[in-house]
């Protein structure tokens, strides 16, 4: 099963490689990983999307907690939560494709954030399947480049991950 794990960790050099090292050393899979400092600059917040049986997910959270620099770990997918991912897509936009591309971007509530005579850069946020759907909807041959941030997640309502 797919799980979204949120981690608060000390914002120190090397902390990220400890987490990555743990996943590769123990053969856990990482679908995506995002990390950045929080409002408290001494802490970073990381979101990892992984997959595994319940036993493996239990081991993953225990092993993460064991890392000295990890302050807190929660499995967001255990309860209601929101996940978002940002994607930037550079597409060819000439002739009739130019109009069509704008139309589809609008339908997906994407924004065009860079324009040249022949191309657009479209910014899109949403959960992973929405971003996938967008890529499905446009003409594949027009895609010049895509970049995705990986998933960030947060619990709904009163669920708060803080020290």
């Amino acid at each position: 099963m797919r799980h979204i794990i949120s981690i608060l960790l000390e914002n120190e050099a090397g902390a990220l490689s400890r987490v990555c090292g743990l996943f590769s050393a123990r053969g856990y899979n990482i679908e995506s990983l995002t990390v950045a400092p929080t409002e408290d600059a001494s802490l970073s917040r990381m979101t990892i999307v992984t997959a595994g049986s319940d036993a493996i997910i239990e081991q993953i959270t225990k092993q993460l907690n064991k890392l000295i620099e990890v302050v807190k770990v929660v499995d967001l997918s255990e309860a209601p939560h929101i996940e978002r991912e940002l994607m930037l897509v550079k597409v060819r936009a000439v002739g009739k494709d130019r109009e069509e591309m704008k139309r589809i971007a609008d339908i997906f509530r994407g924004r065009i954030i860079d324009v040249t005579e022949t191309s657009y850069v479209i910014e899109l946020t949403g959960n992973g399947s929405k971003l996938d759907a967008f890529l499905e909807a446009i003409d594949r041959s027009l895609i010049m480049e895509t970049v995705r941030t990986g998933v960030s997640g947060i619990g709904r309502g009163d669920r708060i991950l803080k020290v």
């Binding site: 090397g14 090292g21 036993a55 225990k62 092993q63 907690n65 064991k66 000295i68 302050v71 020290v163």
Partner: protein
């Protein structure tokens, strides 16, 4: 007063009451060595290879409950030390390793003797640090000692660039350390302990399965109290030996791949297992699926939550310090006034005694060829069972574990988790330095001993009268045994050819050497070594049976109750 980084290192070690540092100098640690030179409180033990420095510090820790400390230089000093660090890590041994590093402004430039120490050691330390500012040095060393010892212990490494050892700052050694991200649980959850008590009282075929955690947490007397309170059988893992007295009636011997028949049968068929500081590893329970095919309830006490429910399903997990939890269990059992049902327990013991009567460790000693088991039995007799015994890795290690009946904790020193050949001699050095009055024997094989043979020189310099028991079968015996059993007798590269004359070798290093070839000479030789040569290092080269195998054996991938016994052959 302002001190240099090098002075701070020495002062920190003194503040931690460190007495011995095992190490080897080099360019990046020269300022620190200069400070060693200027004082005489801390003793530096110069080994002949960095691997041995870490092993010696590791055994110093295992045998004394103090924290072993070692120091090596950057680059090759560090890479040589890695095997030692990984060995200590696998067995959760508290160590502090101080490493030199190239100056901060050279890091990343492929400088002479630069290596990514923090990166290379990351997977085999509990934690590691790179010190980038001399003002962080003291607090980092304090953290290293604190982390090494608390929670699940382990090696902690501090990498110190050379310029940091020259920079100056005010020295203040922190009294305590708080880390918001590190708060190991000590006390067991009361609700879980209550559940455990009830399970134990209701058990019909109970077993206490105790590992190295009992020794690391200094709780062997509590374990004994609990076992006697309940009247339950006890088995130890390889790492747990000495955590429960081997001569106690309730002791079934070691379990696992080379465990006794009774211990393995009891483990496989118990209805309630109390696991104490042990981790159900593959060498202990054999095939996971086979083990899981039997219905049983497991209570698992461990300081490390990730050790629980990792390989087996656990009914009652108890996270906490083994000693604290055992104490609480004893208290509640005494208070409850209930007893496990005597009839069921008697029937269980009857079954166990029948397994015992198989005498799965018996062997035959003839008149011509020395049996390795016999040497260990005689060693046990002559040392009154009171020696510290280190071993290397192989058949000799298993025979030492099976036939030397350890009654006290911290007496059996070996590499369980990583299985590192070459630990035996440096381990014996560490033990002897931590326990100067103790009798120290190193049981080894002609393969293993050659992996750190250079340490005979260190032992000479520091006058360490270790007794080396070389069970010389002219084979990498454990490899040969597997080749005999599972690879159609094809002894690929397991014959040890061109062996040195160990007697001459020992003498060349300034020690006493003996070669023993006949069974009748075993006892007199040992006696001579331990009495006449009490104060010498004696290398005893026993020519043992080349074809002896270790039994019982649970072959890799087989179930715990599917043992091969000597008598089956």
């Amino acid at each position: 007063m302002q001190l240099t980084g090098a002075e701070i290192v020495i002062r920190c070690l003194q503040e931690e009451n460190v007495e011995h540092v095992f190490g080897y100098p080099g360019g990046s640690v020269l300022y620190i060595y200069d400070e060693f030179f200027k004082q005489d409180k801390l003793k530096h033990v110069l080994v002949r290879h960095e691997q041995a420095a870490v092993h010696a510090a590791d055994a110093y820790s295992r045998s004394s409950n103090k924290i072993g400390v070692c120091m090596v230089t950057s680059g090759p000093g560090v890479t040589n030390a890695v095997t030692g660090i990984a060995t200590a890590y696998m067995d959760s041994i508290p160590l502090v390793i101080l490493t030199g590093q190239v100056p901060t402004h050279y890091i990343g430039e492929d400088a002479f003797q630069e290596c990514d120490t923090v990166g290379i050691t990351r997977p085999c330390v509990k934690h590691n640090f790179l010190v980038k500012d001399v003002r962080d040095l003291a607090v980092t060393i304090k953290k290293a000692f604190y982390l090494a010892k608390t929670g699940r212990p382990g090696p902690v490494l501090v990498d110190i660039p050379k310029d940091i050892t020259m920079h100056k700052c005010e020295f203040e050694y922190p009294k305590t350390i708080e880390m918001r991200s590190y708060n190991p649980i000590v006390k067991g959850h009361p609700g879980q302990i209550k559940k455990a008590v009830q399970l134990l009282l209701d058990a019909k075929r109970p077993l206490i399965y105790a590992g190295g955690g009992v020794i690391l947490s200094n709780s062997s007397t509590r374990l004994l109290r609990l076992a006697h309170l309940l009247g339950f059988p006890v088995t130890n893992t390889l790492m747990g030996l000495g955590g429960y007295p081997s001569t106690d009636r309730q002791f079934l011997g070691m379990l696992g791949m080379h465990g006794t028949y009774e211990a393995n049968m009891a483990m496989q068929t118990a209805d309630v297992i109390l696991a104490v500081g042990a981790r159900f590893d593959d060498r202990v329970i054999g095939n996971q699926v086979h083990f899981a095919s039997v219905q049983r309830k497991i209570i698992h006490i461990d300081i490390d939550p990730s050790s629980i429910s990792k390989r087996v399903k656990v009914e009652v997990p108890i996270v906490g310090d083994v000693g604290e939890v055992l104490e609480e269990l004893c208290k509640q059992l005494t208070a409850s006034k209930e007893q496990p049902e005597p009839k069921a327990l008697a029937a269980w013991w009857k079954e166990i005694d029948a397994w015992r009567s198989k005498k799965s460790l018996k062997y035959k000693q003839g008149k011509e060829i020395i049996m390795p088991q016999y040497v260990i039995e005689k060693l046990y007799e002559i040392t009154g069972g009171d020696a510290f015994v280190t071993s290397d890795v192989g058949q000799h290690q298993m025979w030492a574990a099976q036939y030397y009946k350890f009654d006290k904790p911290r007496r059996w020193i070996n590499s369980g988790g990583l299985g590192t050949m070459g630990v035996g001699l440096p381990y014996a050095m560490g033990v002897k330095l931590a326990n100067p009055k103790a009798t120290v024997a190193c049981v080894t094989g002609e393969g293993s001993i050659q992996m750190n043979i250079q340490e005979l020189s260190t032992a000479k310099q520091f006058r360490l009268p270790i007794k080396i028991i070389n069970l010389n079968n002219r084979y990498l015996g454990m490899v040969r045994q597997w080749q005999e059993m599972f690879h159609g007798n094809r002894y690929a590269e397991s014959y040890v050819d061109a062996l040195p004359d160990f007697v001459k070798l020992a003498e060349a290093y300034g020690h006493v050497g003996m070669k023993i070839e006949r069974p009748a000479d075993v006892e007199p030789a040992l006696r001579e070594a331990f009495t006449k040569h009490k104060n010498d290092l004696v290398f005893m080269d026993f020519m043992t049976d080349q074809k002896a195998n270790v039994y019982p054996m649970v072959a890799a991938g087989k179930g715990l109750s599917e043992m091969i016994l000597a008598e089956d052959l």
